[in-house]
């Protein structure tokens, strides 16, 4: 199929349709509303379910219900709406039913604003809901990647019977760029209209009843269930790590950023290379599972890392855990819906590179929180 000029949110919606999504439930919130609007037209056209819920709380519970039937189902929202969904996400995780959530992040906390931000890392990657659960988190930096990761999200959700999140900022959701959509999957291939999975609620015809529940009233049973979940998460951590790298082979300074921040950082890294600075980019695509082994390898070869995010330093925690003090990990963040410019990141790279120039590789250098506020 040829490339078309596509808007991020709409491209994700069509990618979900082509991945065989059978039901969409959502609630309007900027900057993801185009996704809901697209589905409002597209789903009925295909005889699939679309419903604008009365709230994000209702939307995620409609998703929960539909997911219990084994059909492919999704919702989308933006940061404050996703906060409201946390209860439902915990229940879905506790019931092991698959679904896809698209979170188009905006500035916060509170009502914040509608500009692109990455402040949902904690609530999505670390689990803003109660209990020990994880969600698979895929972070696209381009419209094409958003399309590809949406299809992958449905496959991973089904494979592991859990929530898969496509986590992007309002920038990727709103921008238009050339991208190619996959062909429409046959519903059977999409796993959606074939025989219902062996756990799905479709009516107890000729078999014992099935129950989908997140209750284990006996603590020992709940613990066993939790152990099973953790084993599943460990399996995912071993099998599903994905990342993008640029010029990391000989890099002395590794810049780490996801989504838009990673994309902007790649431009800065390219500029730094032109100045003769040995910088490289590591852009995690899966935030859970986090590419911690790869970052540890890079830390063995580099003199330091610079984490760039559109928040106060959330993924930074995971990078520091991965690096485990081997080399300094510095941070540059913009907040409140402000995206960093390549020049700002380049300034940071130049400054840190200069520091490395007269710093022995293994001497302890304090990590500078939020250093280099623009000005």
């Amino acid at each position: 199929m040829a490339k078309q000029l596509l808007k991020g949110n709409e491209a994700i919606a069509e990618a979900a349709v082509r991945a065989g999504v059978q039901a969409y439930f959502g609630y309007p919130i900027t900057p993801q509303t185009e996704l809901l609007e697209y589905m409002a037209r597209r789903m009925p056209e295909l005889g699939r379910a679309f419903l604008q819920a009365e709230s994000e709380v209702a939307a995620i519970n409609m998703v929960y219900g539909a997911a219990c039937t084994g059909r492919r189902v999704m919702t989308s929202s933006s940061s404050p709406g996703v906060s409201l969904m946390m209860e439902g996400l915990s229940y879905i995780a506790g019931s092991e039913v698959p679904c896809v959530l698209v979170d188009v992040m905006r500035g916060g906390p509170g009502l914040g604003n509608i500009a692109p931000a990455q402040g949902d890392y904690y609530q999505i990657v670390k689990g803003g809901g109660h209990g020990d659960f994880r969600m698979i988190v895929l972070a696209p930096a381009t419209v094409q990647e958003a399309i590809d990761l949406t299809g992958l999200a449905f496959d991973l959700a089904d494979r592991y019977r859990m929530v898969a999140v496509v986590l992007l900022d309002g920038n990727v959701g709103q921008l238009m760029e050339p991208a190619e959509l996959p062909p429409m999957r046959s519903v059977l291939n999409g796993g959606s209209n074939g025989p219902a999975p062996e756990w799905a609620l479709v009516g107890a015809q000729g078999r014992p009843k099935r129950v989908v529940s997140s209750i284990y009233i006996v603590p020992e049973d709940e613990e066993k269930f939790n152990q099973r979940l953790q084993a599943k998460y460990a399996q995912i951590a071993a099998a599903e790590v994905r990342y993008h790298e640029y010029q990391t082979e000989d890099a002395e300074l590794i810049v780490v950023g996801f989504g838009t921040a990673g994309r902007v950082a790649q431009t800065a890294v390219k500029q730094a290379r032109e100045l003769g600075i040995k910088a490289g980019l590591h852009r995690p695509i899966t935030l859970f599972p986090f590419p911690e082994k790869r970052l540890a390898e890079l830390a063995d070869r580099a003199r330091g890392l610079l984490v760039v995010e559109m928040n106060a330093g959330q993924m930074l925690d995971d990078v520091r855990l991965a690096v485990n003090g081997k080399v300094p990990v510095k941070f540059y963040g913009r907040m409140g819906g402000v995206a960093p410019l390549p020049d700002e990141i380049l300034e940071q790279i130049k400054r840190i590179a200069a520091e490395f120039g007269h710093t022995p590789r293994h001497s302890p250098v304090s990590c500078l929180p939020l250093d280099g506020q623009p000005g």
């Binding site: 039901a23 219900g65 009843k209």
Partner: protein, 258 residues
């Protein structure tokens, strides 16, 4: 001989197929068991067991799925109508019902039930009103009567500060999508039989695709009311009936013909 006598007995009642053979967790005298049995009998009568999906609430009926021989999902507190909506929208040919108490439906889930009714979601709702939170040990519910003592209204519900109880059947009957909304009671045999008929109609409304159907059932909670089971049934009659009149609050066109 005793054995011979038994052989001659005629079986006049058997457990409905839709009701599982299991030990109950409900307190002695609680009418949840009666409500469960009525729902199960109706599911059997209408031949719906193999294509019904139930949604359990949070509250005393949280384990409802243990008692019904139908596929079941367990919802978050108050969210059963949203979950049922999700199920029904992808499987419109299945029969979907929620079973919810007053804390679940009338308090934390007020938004979900109201919009579900407003949309005319084609599901059946069994609503247990016992004027108290049972599972958590007897706190004030939105349906707790004026002056009624609970653990969170120890001096009795003061309507000056806590407002008047919600009349859910009346309220939901006003929703445009509601096809059948009635209130019945489980305090005596006559009313139980009327309740059974209403539950049957509420499932038939769904079968006919007429829209949202809800049966509110006045129920007893002897444990948290601090009354012996029979006294509790009398308390329904004496105190709940005057505030919660039994009746048909919405019977849409087409329902009468069922």
């Amino acid at each position: 001989m005793l054995a011979d006598t038994q052989l001659q007995e005629e079986i006049v009642y058997t457990r409905p197929q839709a009701l599982a053979e299991t030990v109950t967790h409900y307190c002695p005298g609680c009418t949840h068991g009666v409500a469960h049995k009525l729902v199960a009998e109706v599911i059997d009568e209408l031949g719906l067991r193999e294509r019904t999906i139930g949604v359990a609430p949070v509250g005393c009926a949280v384990f409802a799925y243990n008692y019904f021989n139908v596929d079941f999902a367990e919802a978050a507190h108050g969210r059963a109508p949203a979950m049922a909506t999700g199920i029904k929208r992808v499987l419109p040919e299945r029969i979907v019902f929620t079973y919810q108490g007053d804390g679940d439906l009338a308090s934390i889930g007020l938004s979900e039930i109201t919009h579900c009714a407003a949309r005319g979601e084609n599901i059946t709702v069994i609503f247990i009103n016992n004027a108290i939170y049972g599972m958590t040990g007897g706190q004030m519910a939105p349906t707790t009567l004026p002056g009624q003592k609970t653990t969170s209204s120890p001096c009795g519900r003061d309507v000056e500060t806590m407002g008047m109880p919600l009349r859910m059947a009346e309220m939901l009957a006003g929703m445009p999508g509601a096809a059948y909304v009635v209130r019945r009671s489980l305090h005596n045999v006559k009313e139980i039989n009327r309740a059974r008929k209403a539950i049957r109609t509420a499932f038939q409304v769904q079968q006919a695709g007429l829209g949202f159907a809800l049966v509110e059932l006045l129920s007893s909670c002897p444990t948290n009311w601090g009354l012996p089971p029979l006294e509790a049934l009398k308390w329904i009659e004496a105190h709940m009936l005057p505030y919660y009149p039994l009746g048909d609050y919405k019977v849409a066109e087409g329902v009468e013909k069922l």
